[in-house]
């Protein structure tokens, strides 16, 4: 159970937005659930590469607190630019440690988005001395109104997570995404009742 919670906490922190933003862009983000706080800062040194740091703390079901720090390198492998949409394939990598163990993460992610639809899928692999597992995450989103760029954009999203070797259940989380200029924030709750709050700013 501890391992499962560790997984959910870690990978839920990876779900916010593009892992690479734009050339010379900085992304700062934070996410909170009932048992976790995650903070990350990324710098895109090219439009298709970013590096950053990720600090993450969670409390498992037994009340044990664990803390991780990662250095991450992300790559936009391929982008399809269409007239009304954009598709992307990203690669994730990271090295870090907890207080008592070396840890690494690797994964791949694909998304397709227009101004009214959003689809994404992600596979991640995470390992330290406690866990060595895969996780799959998918999202579908819809924005019913195309807001002016100077207005608040609202998205309805549905997220599903599946841990291949762990619970063998899909955790479903409906959420709302708000986007205003360079600020994005999300609020939602899983069908199990766990809240999720996230915030991101890029500049």
């Amino acid at each position: 159970m501890k391992i499962l919670i560790l997984f959910l906490m870690f990978f839920s922190s990876q779900l916010r937005a593009h892992p690479v933003i734009f050339d010379d862009g900085v992304m700062w983000g934070q996410m909170m659930t009932p048992d976790m706080t995650d903070l990350q800062v990324h710098y895109s040194f090219r439009y298709n590469w970013s590096f950053g740091a990720n600090a993450w703390r969670f409390e498992n079901a037994a009340g044990e607190k664990r803390e991780y720090a990662f250095a991450k390198l992300n790559h936009l492998l391929k982008r399809w630019n269409n007239a009304d949409s954009q598709g992307n394939v990203y690669l994730h990598s990271g090295l870090g440690s907890s207080r008592d163990s070396f840890a690494w993460v690797a994964g791949a992610e694909a998304d397709w988005e227009s101004r009214v639809w959003f689809l994404s899928g992600k596979w991640m692999h995470f390992a330290d001395k406690v866990v060595d597992q895969d996780l799959y995450v998918a999202r579908v989103g819809h924005s019913p109104i195309i807001a002016d760029v100077n207005s608040l954009q609202i998205w309805f999203m549905l997220q599903g997570q599946y841990e291949k070797h762990m619970s063998r259940t899909v955790k479903v989380t409906p959420l709302l995404r708000f986007f205003y200029h360079n600020v994005l924030w999300e609020t939602g709750a899983s069908l199990d009742g766990d809240y999720m709050l996230s915030f991101m700013i890029h500049y």
């Binding site: 933003i21 050339d23 360079n182």
Partner: protein, 91 residues
Amino acid sequence: MKKILLLAALLFSSAVYAETVKVDVNGMVCSMCIQGIKKKFGNVEHVTEVDVNLDNKVVTLTTHGKNDVSDETIKKLITEAGYDVVKIARQ
């Protein structure tokens, strides 16, 4: 009087030679795209204004003078920002 004439001449000369470049761009879907493109052109010499319109997928550049920024430079900067240039039109 001479000063006024000189000032007016300077003022109107810059207006006469300013150029508007409209660039059709594929792949722009959100405000983050706008921010990235504006940042890319923000420090380009002779570019005085950058406007990004997601509705018609056009980036409009205003420059000091005619051909201050070449098509090649525009394509390079848009590509480096992560998007594709479809067409460039100068006015």
